[in-house]
């Protein structure tokens, strides 16, 4: 019974977040500027959570997440510019995600044999290739990029895709397949010795991560209405990685919290434009010194964790 109640509580919380967001949007408290920040935040959450699946849970160090995002963005933009309807938008998101997943599969199959820094370099190269391809294709309008992508992203869509991504990836991680992925991070040889097919699960995680990065890219295109290849460079991949590491390698709630925290920091620092990046960098350094394992470590934010925390506090004070 307790488990059931906990499960319900999660859905009630999600509903609450949605309703609060909806009310803020409808009353106009969330103005255009704040809504743009919220959109960036949600996109970053999707990116970080999906990268965490690859890097945090499966242990495959990838520096190419922006590449997958750009595929989703361009595919979705090209589709919605031709079919400017809600079904067209959904088709665009789906096609964008699938295209990213397909590229993830093609790239992942040969490169996931590499380990650690070698894989990082290979994925970095992949993202660069994708960027150069978009820079030179006629259909993506080269360096000038695509302008006037129809804007479909509203709070309900944003919420649906973000919550959906977290929910699906969280379910995957807690499934038998997800645990197989985690064993690869823990010890690949041991994983193989108990009969886990390492390549298969690495590719699975990589393709899933790419799929959701494609969704994030699609949402980006459908909100910010213009795309340029330079938007998806190396620094964006790093930004995503920073969120993952800051939140904690292997903690989904950590990724969400870190994304929110970084969004708050950078929004607050808007008022000091000349010092903004300095403060931002200092904040990162300080957090990493104080919590080298990331904000959440590999733990998830759960009611059990809060209860245990409360208990140990009490024990210490008594």
């Amino acid at each position: 019974m307790a488990l059931l109640q906990k499960g319900w509580l999660k859905y009630i919380l999600m509903l609450l977040v949605f309703v609060v967001g909806q009310v803020l949007v409808m009353t106009g408290i969330l103005n255009d500027y704040l809504f743009a920040t919220l959109t960036t935040l949600c996109i970053n959450i999707i990116l970080a959570v999906s990268l965490n699946l690859i890097t945090g849970f499966t242990g495959q160090f990838s520096l190419g997440h922006a590449g997958f995002m750009s595929i989703g963005a361009y595919v979705c933009a090209l589709i919605t510019m031709r079919i400017s309807t809600i079904p067209g938008f959904l088709l665009g998101v789906f096609a964008g995600a699938c295209a990213a997943a397909l590229v993830g599969f093609i790239v992942g199959l040969p490169t996931l044999r590499l380990r650690g820094d070698y894989l990082a370099i290979a994925t970095l190269g992949m993202a660069e290739i994708i960027r150069i391809v978009f820079l030179n294709l006629e259909i993506t309008n080269g360096a000038a990029g695509l302008n006037g992508v129809p804007q479909f992203v509203t709070w309900p869509w944003l919420f649906l895709f973000t919550a959906g991504t977290i929910h699906l990836i969280s379910n995957f991680i807690h499934s038998a397949h997800g645990r197989a992925c985690i064993t690869l991070r823990e010890d690949e040889i041991a994983a193989e010795s108990i009969g886990i097919d390492a390549t298969r699960y690495k590719v699975t995680a990589f393709v899933m991560g790419a799929f959701f990065a494609g969704i994030a890219g699609s949402l980006y295109a459908s909100y910010f209405y213009f795309l340029r290849p330079t938007l998806f460079g190396f620094s964006r991949s790093i930004d995503i990685l920073v969120i993952v590491v800051l939140g904690g390698i292997g903690s989904l709630s950590g990724s969400v919290i870190a994304a929110i925290l970084l969004a708050l920091i950078s929004t607050y620092l808007q008022s000091f434009p000349e010092l903004r990046m300095v403060f931002y960098a200092v904040a990162l350094v300080v957090i990493m010194i104080l919590r080298p394992q990331g904000l959440m470590g590999s733990k998830e934010l759960s009611f059990d964790l809060l209860r245990n925390l409360g208990r140990s506090r009490k024990r210490r004070s008594s």
Binding site: I182, T183, D187, A191, E192, S193, I194, G195, I196
Partner: protein, 235 residues
């Protein structure tokens, strides 16, 4: 039960195994002993499929498994306890054991085997919720063996279970290997601790720089002057 014929393994251009042949009959404990770098771990990894041989074949119960993946070999009844224990450090003892049964779908059988492992290693039951990385070396070795048993193997491949353990614990681990064997599991044991290995094994092979230089009854080898001088520290 397990037969290896003319196995050749290369690391790049280096020939690590030079035409190795050995057989393990059902119900036996066979040990493969030798010094550092002789090729013991390489042999075992090739048998379990983690390494690919350049030539030769591996037969399990008469079935040629040389081309099968490690996963399929586990399904065929092989289970490998890798060198250096290699438990999943950030997972609980129970999760480690459950993962040992990763390829199995028979829930009741898994429960049953879990009980057996806990009976064999009561300390693992006490520590079932603890992270495996926080266990002592001996406990981790027990966990690694327990995890391998969870796939219900016909042949258990053990790679240096005595590594880095105190003498008393080594004795305990070897006793456990013996009881596992008595319960019907065939064992191929790779060891540097020749003395201990020969005491529980029925037959043995001696590996030296990639070739088998000697083989025979464990008892005979235990008394052979050559072995005493080279591996048992005798005079």
């Amino acid at each position: 039960m397990l037969e290896i014929r003319d196995l050749e393994v290369y690391y790049g251009v280096i020939r690590a195994l030079k035409s190795i042949s050995l057989r393990v009959k059902e119900g036996e404990i066979v040990t493969l002993i030798g010094a550092n770098g002789a090729g013991k771990t390489t042999s075992l990894r090739t048998i379990s499929g983690l390494l690919r041989p350049h030539a030769g074949s591996i037969l399990l119960n008469g079935v040629d498994v040389t081309q099968l993946s490690p996963r399929e070999r586990v399904k065929e009844g092989m289970s490998h306890v890798p060198e250096g224990r290699r438990v999943f450090p950030m997972m609980s003892v129970l999760e480690n054991l459950e993962l040992g049964a990763f390829l199995r779908r028979d829930k009741e059988g898994i429960e049953e085997d879990l009980t057996h492992v806990y009976e064999r290693f009561p300390i693992l039951f006490d520590r079932r919720k603890q992270m495996a990385g926080t266990l002592s070396g001996g406990e981790q070795q027990m966990l690694a063996i327990g995890r391998a048993l969870m796939s219900r193997p016909k042949v258990l491949l053990l790679d240096e279970p005595s590594m880095g353990l105190a003498p008393l614990l080594v004795q305990e681990i070897f006793n456990i290997i013996q009881t596992i064997n008595e319960a019907g599991t065939t064992v191929l044991l790779v060891e540097q601790n020749a003395n201990m290995a020969l005491q529980i094994a029925s037959r043995a092979y001696v590996l030296e720089t990639g070739s088998i230089v000697l083989s025979g009854e464990a008892k005979t080898l235990l008394e052979s002057e050559e072995i005493k001088k080279a591996y048992l520290g005798g005079k």
